[in-house]
Subunit: 462 residues, 2 copies
Amino acid sequence: MKDLNNYIESNKDRFLNELIDLLKIPSISADTAYSQDVLHTAEAVKKSLTEAGCDNAEICETKGYPVVYADKIIDPNLPTVLVYGHYDVQPPDPINLWDSPPFKPVIKPTKLHPDGAIFARGACDDKGQFFMHVKAVEYMIKNNTLPCNVKFMIEGEEEVGSDSLAGFLDDNKEKLKNDIILISDTGMISMENPSITTGLRGLSYVEVEVTGANRDLHSGIYGGAAPNPINVLAKMIASLHDENNHITIPGFYDKVEIISDEERAEMAKAPFDLEEYKASLDIDDVHGEKGYSTSERFGIRPTLDVNGIWGGYMGEGAKTVIASKAYAKISMRLVPNQDWHEITDLFTKHFTSIAPKSVKVKVSPHHGGQAYVTPIDSIGYQAAAKAVEQTFGKSPVPQRTGGSIPIVALFEKVLESKTILLGFGLDSDAIHSPNEHFGVLNFLKGIETIPYFYKYFAELNA
Amino acid sequence: MKDLNNYIESNKDRFLNELIDLLKIPSISADTAYSQDVLHTAEAVKKSLTEAGCDNAEICETKGYPVVYADKIIDPNLPTVLVYGHYDVQPPDPINLWDSPPFKPVIKPTKLHPDGAIFARGACDDKGQFFMHVKAVEYMIKNNTLPCNVKFMIEGEEEVGSDSLAGFLDDNKEKLKNDIILISDTGMISMENPSITTGLRGLSYVEVEVTGANRDLHSGIYGGAAPNPINVLAKMIASLHDENNHITIPGFYDKVEIISDEERAEMAKAPFDLEEYKASLDIDDVHGEKGYSTSERFGIRPTLDVNGIWGGYMGEGAKTVIASKAYAKISMRLVPNQDWHEITDLFTKHFTSIAPKSVKVKVSPHHGGQAYVTPIDSIGYQAAAKAVEQTFGKSPVPQRTGGSIPIVALFEKVLESKTILLGFGLDSDAIHSPNEHFGVLNFLKGIETIPYFYKYFAELNA
């Protein structure tokens, strides 16, 4: 593939402009106000796959947002790679913290990306990353170097739990048949320390509602006598962690995978600078479960975080009111062997049980997914590791990260194939935050690395 | 005053229509978006005082919203009554819980007000109540039965802490000179059980901000390792009450007035039906400080309530984010001898001290006021009690309520006169809540009672 670098060099401006056009569409799946934009993004993705040289590009309807499919079958006897990605994005709020509008992409240099980074919601998660595959496949098709069959499945509901995907997989098992699933929706440690994600945490996401009196009350007349749902909710949330930051939900840890000291020692070798970590977040101390290192806390341990809370008067000035209702969105990150349905039930039972008699509590599960681990002795992982070594000049560190891609476990169950998480983003890319960005070099390096994955995957399968 | 009832009967429709016009103006002092409406309300109040027959009606500028003044001096040798009220109102949100628009007044019957109640923000607190005085004085002037001099001082910042009033009092001591201050900004137990408020709680209102990382974070990548300001804030708020719902701020109770068992027994005689209380709020249990009855909890004990809380993702659907900041508005109701400045300092010191090293905490005091008690052996209280007995046919119960009118303590300090809290609202009038209302009969009964207060106050002073 001697001409790969030339191809990238001579086309990189076009690659970037095509990505920027995609980033301009606010495909926020969590907010129905943007449903038309989500659908337009699906159209744009379909177009990009056709222009890349794929066949059978198609908008596949689901009960939710559609899945975009396309493929290039060159020889039924060759192995088939299924590329998964998502074209929907997280809501951009708090909008006022963005230095430039989230859907008006700009390229500017940062400390970690001196050659420039693309700033926009979805730049890294996941438009920028799945688009690397579109461009890598374009190269292989145009230069007749595609060594495997390839199928694309780009969905539009990843940020809201991929509700329609299970049904889509069930209905299209044959069409989606593959030998390996390739996903770029995770990160790597750094350009100098490439890594491949081998573990993902599961997720259980719930919303809780605490109701006190049947109406808002005057805090003077009722304060101290009537239940205050905000105070009650605060006490209930506080009680979910003990003084060592262990989660107090009965049974929560029962099935947590026990990791040997040897394995923990092995993982501890991955480069991690706590001072740099604290400095990058501008915090004086980390905050987590006693008995575990920071990387273990987000890598191998389950967690519980409140993602949003609201109730009472949030406006300007003061209002002496006792709210009738208080709300919180709470998510739990799970590790291998914890079943998210079971955890959601345990949470619901426990949270309801700790409510004082003076309030009413409602728990509504949002969505969830199982944790996943990629075996590093698999052909897929070996091919990915060789590809990274080829283009980064350094063999990658296998790494378990805290994020969740709930559908990875689903793929294994329904499509019976393993997933390789070949991500090129950095933790500092601020995905899900204001000023999300993706390094231009990371983007191009991804396009350069992917074809080698196909090459080695074909060879190792031969 | 044989013709008093005839006057009310033949003018009540006009009284109601004039009040309704006043209620149509959204004089929300907490929200600067309504500043023009607040000023227009001051103009309308001035007009109503002139039309009632008062002299020297004037819009008195302050550093904030103006105070409306007017008087009727019939004889320097007669005692002078200073009527205080406020023309500003609380914000109406949550707006969607109103059955009719908060600033489109409607009159309809309720279970407790079979003859109809006026539904509007400010109907009871305090436009409807101070307007009773305007109409009562109108009657006395028009019928030459005014037995005292009267001065009106109607302000526009009561709902946001009366910041400008202290300065106004200092600058106008002579102009405001009086023998008794009369206020209708409180309630009574019921029409069958009239009561007069003899105690008011003080107030300290603060806003807190907890900051974790310098940006919102992905809860998967950072969850369990980086500080979550919402979880931290919940723990901090929860720790402000112990398992008996005592407030844990060191020194908080040091100066709390000790009330003798005899006095508590006396207060316990006021009719109070706990089952009815719970039923009216639709709660299965009350929630308050151990060792005290419900009426004691809001009457004689200090309390701490969160009036608002917010942080993270509050929108539709799910967002797996760890917020950078979480906020809460917290108010403490104080009892006699607790100094609100001192309590605010104690809160600030304590709240800052319990913050874990992983977050930064900011406490911003909003406003506050001292508690107040009216001696029931004073001439003013005796005159009010006789007036209520005259029109309700039953002698009123002296009652300490939980509300705060911070400036009452200020009046005593600066103007050196006592205040009589002659309120005609009911707890169920939902002040500060959606569907605030004021019974038409309560409104008219107030107009009927007030002239008798003047009569007896003049007689007792003679």
